[in-house]
Amino acid sequence: MTNLIQLQQVSKIYESDAGQFSALKNINLQIGTGEFVAIIGRSGSGKSTLLNVLTGIDQPSHGSVRVQQQMIHQMNESQLASWRGRTMGIVFQFFQLIPTLTIAENLALAMDFVNVIPKAKRGQRIHQLLQQVGIEKQANKFPASLSGGEQQRAAIARAMANKPDVIVADEPTGNLDSQTAESIMQLFKDLVDQGKTVLVVTHEQASLKHFHRVIRLHDGEIQDAASAPEPVTAVQQEAC
């Protein structure tokens, strides 16, 4: 398994009126292709910051971030946008679908920005993706008319739109009931089975069993990075 993502000595310091705050402290992390990784930790432990640094949404204060052999912390905003669109699929906790567009149009817009999928094949791919996440019948509906679970499936389909190698999800089941959350986790697992690398920030105890690896953050430091399922129990007890 090759290293898809490499973080070396990554720190993130925020300046505020109250003084400096270190959200990440000397993080060293490697994630391989096809891994299914959970990032857990208490609120304020640096999970979202780590995800932001990994996706190029935020820049590290120190250290390097390498994804697919590319030093993303050296890219400018425009390069990052293109790279992110091609490489990363991001799923948000509150789905963040564009409310004024239908589900199919939400996917099409993401494809339009990145322009990886040829125009002629976009319709077919949208249909295929929606079928894959099980909401093909909702293609022409607006987000507001879908249930939370359906919206999150749509968000995953959108994240997959440009065939990224990495899917990153920030609390994707935080807003869903347990049954729906389980089906969403299954969806991520299916993606991993298809060769995608999936990173998920989660609080859900029950879902940890799905992951290959669980990274536990505490005060901006990786406290534990163990393979599932054995360490998960320990993690579950302490972190969640």
Binding site: N52, I57, E77, A81, R84, F92, E105, A110, F113, A159
Partner: protein, 788 residues
């Protein structure tokens, strides 16, 4: 469809109310600017074209010594393009039973083969038969004259009935509706028969090469010298202005004024668009972050919002441009009717359409661009962390000393008003500007009325009789000695109006009024210097137009004035305000000594003992009866009220347009307020849910929003009235320059305008808040709480 375009379209569909309001404002603004632009193009081109196409004469000479052979010789002169004898005289015509106005009668030699001063066939006979006449079409609007029926005319002491055989169109003449003259045309034989005057006395001609006014004057002087060398006595020699219609000033002032107002309306509408874009962008900041997270570059975000504006602009242009063309032509037809000319332009050049599209599409984009660029630059993280309204750092209510004087509901509205300060400032300024323009419209109108009142107050006579020629003072007075209702009588040489200027002129187009220095019948406002003193010195007063014509000389300076062909030195002692053509005022006794040794006069003015309407009408009828029985050649018998009406008719078109277009600005600002209130309500949907959960009824919630709008309206009115003050003063100055020849109009505050502005603004504010608030309260509490 392009997805970015689809996103832009879907956003427009998502905020239909707000986009409709803003688009309406944009349409009104663009429509206004477009209408003025189109009408300006058509009118400025066509008024001039109508006038110039008639080939107006460059010069006019009057001499009893002209012979037909002179005309043939002139026509062979290579410096002369065309020449014609067109005799002319001013008489009287009965336009309605017992209502007489001056008749300006031309005896034309050419009807079918005109070579200059063209007039055109309109209706009925073009070339009248002997003993008949044709009248200028605008005269029909002020008279009961009908083709085929005879009219009464008076020439001197003779009355006659002359059949009207047709209607012609002479675009070079000022409109009868404003000047209250009738223009009529007869052939030379009929002219001689009607007037009893010799023909071939008035020569008009055009020079082949005439670059400018100075050139025309030079050639006219040279020709006059030539005529005099030939032994001819030239009674009148006049260089004319062949490039400017007599009423061009009205058109210029109208267009400039309307253009400024509409430009402002368009700018305000564009500000509204930028305000709406700001609010949409603030609301969509997380969406922008998400779009960036899924791969959108800054340029993609820019494209989406620019497309949105482009769509808005295109829809606006699609509606506003045809409307503007339609109404622009409408205005042109209206003005052309008022000024008596024909609209000739049937197509508009491409640049007009380009300017209209730039206004509809470009202006909103330019004003919204900073907000779009700023939003497109937002970092994903900052965007995702944005939760909408920022809490203001305002003082708690209990710390405001006067807070307990108001109800909590009012205080809530007051605090909410100040919540989005930037938006409130924009709304307030937009609304204040609307109020200011609207109020300025009324104030300028009031200034014009005050000027009219002052003009009326300066004319202390009640009825005036003007003769075609000068006669002995006693001869004129004797005719009216036993009239009962007469308090005071004066006889003057020259007087008010165009005709008097033509009869008694000092050159440079300036008329002379020789009146007793201690006159009791004129009390004009002195703008500088003093009234005539009656001393043995040559003293002169002038009105503002004359002052301008003589390049604004200092009071006390000596001027060389030509009286009856002889130059005299006069000391300028005063300048008066007067709505009239350029005039000099000289003490009658000095004038008699210098240029009128026989002490002849041509007008008599009466002040009545009783000057209520009925008494004056009766007096005027008595005077008319005396005139009819006399052998006097009377030009007009005019009451002071009729004279004021002539002045008012000149200004009416401006007065009406001013208020109409100012209302347009107020509507745009009201739409701005509606849009701002809509945005406020949209942003506070969740708050509405909370209020309802707390037990507020829809009525109470609505009253909070209406109170907010009324607070803004009252602040806007106060600010608007403050802005209106200097604006009105500037506008009055501008109009004064156009109407009074450089003197500002008196500044006047219109109390009626204030009341109308106050209640109209409050009414607009109420409508702008009541209905959006009403729709917001229709959302269920659950939906409102869930609103993100």
């Amino acid at each position: 469809m392009n997805m970015r375009l689809k996103k832009a379209l879907s956003d427009i569909r998502f905020y239909p109310g707000r986009f409709t309001l803003v688009m309406l404002a944009l349409i009104i603004g663009s429509w206004g600017v477009g209408s003025v632009l189109v009408s300006y193009f058509v009118l400025s081109q066509d008024l001039s074209a109508n006038f110039v196409n008639t080939k107006p004469p460059h010069a006019m000479f009057i001499s009893a010594d002209f012979k037909p052979a002179d005309l043939s010789r002139l026509r062979q002169n290579p410096a002369i393009e065309s020449a014609e004898f067109r005799d002319y005289g001013i008489y009287r015509i009965e336009v309605k039973p017992d209502e007489w106005v001056p008749l300006r009668l031309y005896g034309a030699t050419e009807f079918e083969q005109q070579s200059l001063a063209y007039f055109y066939e309109q209706q009925g006979q073009f070339h009248p038969n002997k003993g008949a006449m044709v009248i200028e079409r605008n005269g029909l609007l002020i008279s009961d004259i009908e083709i085929g029926k005879p009219v009464n005319i008076r020439v001197g002491n003779r009355s006659m009935r002359i059949p009207v055989e047709g209607v012609i169109f002479d675009p070079a003449q000022p409109p009868a509706t404003q000047d209250h003259f009738i223009f009529a045309y007869v052939d030379q034989t009929t002219f001689q028969q009607i007037t009893g005057e010799a023909i071939n006395q008035r020569l008009i001609l055009r020079y082949r090469q005439a670059q400018n006014d100075a050139d025309i004057q030079k050639q006219t002087d040279a020709l006059k010298s030539q005529f005099m060398l030939e032994g001819k006595t030239i009674r009148v020699s006049k260089a004319l202005q062949p490039n400017s219609h007599p009423h061009q000033w009205q058109l210029d002032s109208l267009i400039l004024m309307l253009g400024s107002i509409c430009l402002l309306a368009s700018l305000m509408a564009a500000i509204l668009v930028s305000q709406l874009m700001n609010s949409i962008l603030a609301k969509q900041i997380r969406q922008i972050a998400v779009l960036k997270a899924v791969g959108a570059k800054q340029s993609h975000i820019l494209q989406i919002y620019l497309l949105m504006l482009l769509l808005l602009g295109c829809i606006t242009a699609l509606i506003a441009v045809p409307l503007a063309v339609f109404s622009g032509y409408g205005i042109s037809y209206g003005v052309s009717m008022a000024l008596n000319f024909d609209v000739l332009s049937t197509s508009l050049p491409w640049w007009i359409y380009s300017v209209l599209i730039i206004f509809s599409v470009g202006l909103p984009i330019i004003l919204s661009l900073p907000a779009i660029v700023k939003a497109s630059r937002v970092c994903i993280k900052a965007g995702l962390d944005d939760y909408g309204l920022v809490q203001t750092q305002a003082k708690p209510m209990q710390e405001i000393p006067w807070a307990n004087r108001f109800s909590p509901q009012f205080l809530f509205a007051l605090r909410n008003t100040l919540r989005q300060r930037k938006r409130v400032v924009v709304t307030l300024l937009t609304m204040a500007l609307g109020v200011a323009i609207f109020s300025t419209g009324f104030n300028v109108r009031q200034s014009l009325f005050v000027m009219l009142q002052q003009t009326k107050a300066s004319m202390l006579y009640d009825v005036k009789v003007v003769l075609q020629n000068s006669i002995n003072d006693s001869q004129l007075r004797n005719l009216f000695t036993d009239l009962e209702n007469i308090r005071h009588t004066e006889t003057w040489s020259g007087g008010q109006g165009v005709i008097q200027s033509e009869m008694n002129s000092a050159g440079r187009g300036v008329g002379i009024t020789a009146l007793p220095f201690d006159t009791q019948l004129q009390a004009s406002i002195m703008l500088g210097g003093r009234w005539l003193s009656g001393s043995s010195d040559n003293e002169l007063m002038m009105n503002t137009w004359a002052w301008k014509a003589y390049e604004k000389p200092d009071i006390g300076s000596m001027l060389s004035i030509t009286l009856q062909g002889q130059a005299h030195q006069f000391k300028l002692v005063g300048v008066i305000e007067e709505f009239d053509t350029a005039k000099f005022f000289i003490d009658q006794s000095r004038y008699q000594q210098l240029a009128n040794p026989q002490a002849k006069v041509n007008s008599i003015l009466f002040a009545a003992k009783q000057n209520d309407y009925d008494a004056i009408v009766k007096l005027q009828q008595q005077i008319e009866q005396r005139v009819a029985r006399s052998d006097l050649s009377v030009l007009s018998v005019e009451s002071q009220a009729q004279r004021v009406k002539v002045i008012y008719d000149h200004l009416d078109i401006i007065l009406v347009s001013l208020v109409m277009f100012a209302l347009l600005v107020l509507i745009v600002s009201a739409l701005g307020m509606a849009s701002a209130m809509g945005i406020n309500i949209m942003e506070r949907s969740r708050e509405i849910g909370v209020l309802r959960a707390m037990g507020a009824t829809p009525r109470k919630i609505r009253s909070v929003f209406v109170s907010e709008a009324l607070i803004i309206a009252v602040l806007s009115i106060s600010l608007g009235l403050l802005i209106a003050w200097p604006l009105s003063a500037s506008a009055s100055s501008f109009f004064g320059n156009l109407i009074l020849g450089g003197t500002p109009l008196p500044f006047a505050f219109s109390s009626n305008g204030f009341v109308i502005t106050f209640f109209t603004t409050l009414g607009f504010a109420w409508i702008a808040s009541y209905f959006p608030a009403g729709s917001a309260t229709k959302i269920s509490t659950k939906e409102a709480l869930a609103y993100e």
